[in-house]
Symmetry: D2
Subunit: 267 residues, 4 copies
């Protein structure tokens, strides 16, 4: 949404494509999907939501992204809006790039792929707003992992662990860890526990009541895809990654503490 | 749904209206809303879902209901299907009636009531399936109680505490306790905790983003009512109660242990 | 601990016994247990811990207590240290008194009572620091309620719900609600859920492995009492209450929000 | 405890040291620490507790262990007692060995190591039974990770994730995943969440109130070690591993489902 009004211009003194808000500022706007091909780096103003929205694009083109946080809470954004002078560090290309694991998410229907996406945060399979309980069968390539009766399940990356997964009771997974995370949403009949798996698994989720109950797949909070009874949602580690520019030496621990409202100082 | 094919007949030897399944059995079926007026007692075959469906009707007519459990898990049903001979105890009217607290649920829009219902289990205010986070402001008549950013909130009776509320992490409230229970659903920014309140409070829930985010009210798992920005959902203890027939001397403790799969024996 | 150095003096212009810190200030100190008999009101400087420590004494003598918070987090304290001028309101006796439910806690051994106490917050039955799992059988007068295998169980009042019980995952119970609350501590084999009961129950906790595993009872965080195999810990609503002086019109909701670090404003 | 009466004998037809119960059976018993040096494989009768007890010994000598479950719940045991005929598969050495990650646990006091151990499940730093809250500062080599105010913290391996860590609300980590898991125990002031970290971190836990509050370290549920104020508990991935013999092709998923009481079938 924030990106609807995005425009792009080449900033002469810096070796990357710059994005900014507002055509009303008299700036020339060019489409992201054109510019990204020749871009060396993307600066995303807005916050984690903006990065999430751009993740697929930058990952497919292997362009690193630098987030500038305009909002309230950001795990992926590197700079706050009052730290913009640190952008000068980009000039001499003195920054680290952190590769964040992504998920390949697809839906198989009658043997054919009917949906394909990549996720930086998560793939959520959940009930429609009317249904009360949805039943999901969850497999790895080794066999059935568990069944969930409840609101749904979240398959997430370490990056996504601090998002919806945490709200559903999941653990905080360090972003540089390599894990697939499965967190049930309001499970009715099983002990409420997340599963932390090795990254080489292929997870399959089936919703046998999907026709009757309205079950949806949503990737990184995007547009919901409606599932049918015999659909198989496949989730696995992607070969694509989101490359985040790191200008500071802030560790995940420091960011976590700072962003989560100073638990460390409060405790 | 189960009740669509319900029929009623007077069983001569027993002083109550009997309901059963199946017109295909050659039985005469009469509408529930007619028969309920002259009924002394209603037997609900099916399980807790059936009782839940009937709760509004029996409460308004103050007719006690006896549940016969045909399904898997029942906290409100009194008899299992293999205990039907205990119905003979009804003949000499030797049974207790347990009154279960209900909720008055209404929606105020521009000062007018646009929705009214009574709930035996719960009133759920939650996001549509597409929205990611809904923000709710929750008040009692004394002032603001809390804010919830997440999937929504469940206002439930003690009876409803073992339903969706428990799946969302809420406590088990003894059915004969007199409490209003508020349980947030996957809260993003607050400590995940239920609120147990005295029964005399009037709870108001407002959803300031309702227009943009699709926020719904659902009572006892029934049809979703779509909320608007300035709507006020009011929840308070109802003067109506659901009267459950108790033939056995089973306490809540025993039922709980039995129905929840023998935690007591497993632990 | 804070109270070790407590002293008492009669303040001439106000009709109650005043307590303060520090004999080093040259103030005459008299024992609390003497002064309490003739006191009309007790002012406790320190915080909730101080009130908790004094609760048994003020309850037995039915003396209302006014807490002045010197520490970080207080649900029971009425005034912050910078609000001391509000004590003038006491002069014309214009304040409300809120009665907080307490628990009678006793231990029966071989038919005899070997321990007796009253609790404002909670009675905790838990393992010693070496034992890994303790097994507890929990009954009401109606029969077995549940078994807990884990670190222990907390029986708490509504007042105690925001203490250790909340840390163990229990709900927030409004202080004026009348409920007994049971919260298992790190339960191993059962679904982690609190029980909210009516206040008229008598709860019995038995620890069949107590001899071998070191199981302790601690009331309001006080000195641990070592349990034996056939001991029965009895917990029920006390006829005593702690009377808290309320000078402000702050509701529980406001206090909760303020004390819990502004969840309402953050959410 | 179960191992107090263990004896060892060489079974001629099978290429490994066999252990069994009961000197009373007239069997010759030899000490484990002698026999382990020349053993090719150890069979542990008893359950996960037995394996846990033996883990340090078999890891240091790099001897694979095969668990035979005599108890109720086992994640590490390979065979149930009624599957003993599968031991014949050992004859032709046709089995897989699964290496389980272990933890190096040490305590630094004044720059010197005063405690050293290796853990298959977990290292628990927790309060004594009397103390109410212990404050812990938790660091990685990159800086402070979090503070915990509560009953303590559990540092566990993936293997240990289904033990005490799960009781404290932690996630299930697949045994073959490579992660360090930190789970706070009944945290008072922070959001209750586990941390899943990469295996290369060195975790340091400090207990600044240890002198006054009695804080203990316990490795794999063993003898508690009393911590002092300036002690640093160090936890990191060990170069040692516990090698578990796998006769069946049962995956973790299947074992998990079976051992956890058929969540899959119940859901």
């Amino acid at each position: 949404k924030l990106l609807d009004a995005l425009h792009f211009q080449t900033v002469v003194c810096l070796p990357f494509q710059r994005e900014g808000y507002g055509a009303e500022l008299g700036l020339r706007i060019t489409p992201l999907h054109q510019e990204i091909r020749s871009a060396d780096l993307l600066i995303a103003f807005g916050g984690d939501g903006t990065i999430l929205h751009l993740a697929r694009t930058v990952a497919l083109h292997s362009v690193p992204v630098l987030g500038v946080n305009l909002g309230s809470l950001g795990f992926m954004s590197e700079l706050e809006v009052d730290e913009l002078d640190r952008l000068r560090d980009l000039a001499d290309w003195s920054f680290d790039v952190e590769s964040r694991m992504m998920l390949d998410v697809s839906v198989l229907r009658g043997g054919k792929s009917v949906y394909n996406n990549i996720a930086l945060n998560d793939a959520v399979i959940s009930k429609g707003s009317i249904a009360r309980v949805v039943r999901l069968n969850i497999f790895t390539e080794e066999g059935q992992l568990t069944k969930v009766g409840g609101d749904g399940v979240i398959a997430s990356t370490p990056t996504g662990s601090t998002g919806y997964s945490m709200a559903a009771g999941g653990p905080i997974v360090e972003p540089t860890a390599r894990n697939l995370l499965l967190t049930p949403i309001c499970p009715h009949s099983t002990r409420s526990s997340s599963y932390v798996l090795s990254p080489e698994h292929v997870i399959t989720v089936e919703a046998p009541d999907a026709n009757r109950k309205f079950v949806y797949l949503s990737v990184d909070g995007g547009k919901a895809f409606s599932l049918k009874n015999n659909d198989q949602v496949r989730v696995s580690t992607s070969r694509y990654t989101t490359k985040l520019v790191r200008l500071s030496k802030k560790s995940f621990c420091e960011i976590l503490d700072k962003k989560m409202g100073g638990e460390v100082t409060k405790a």
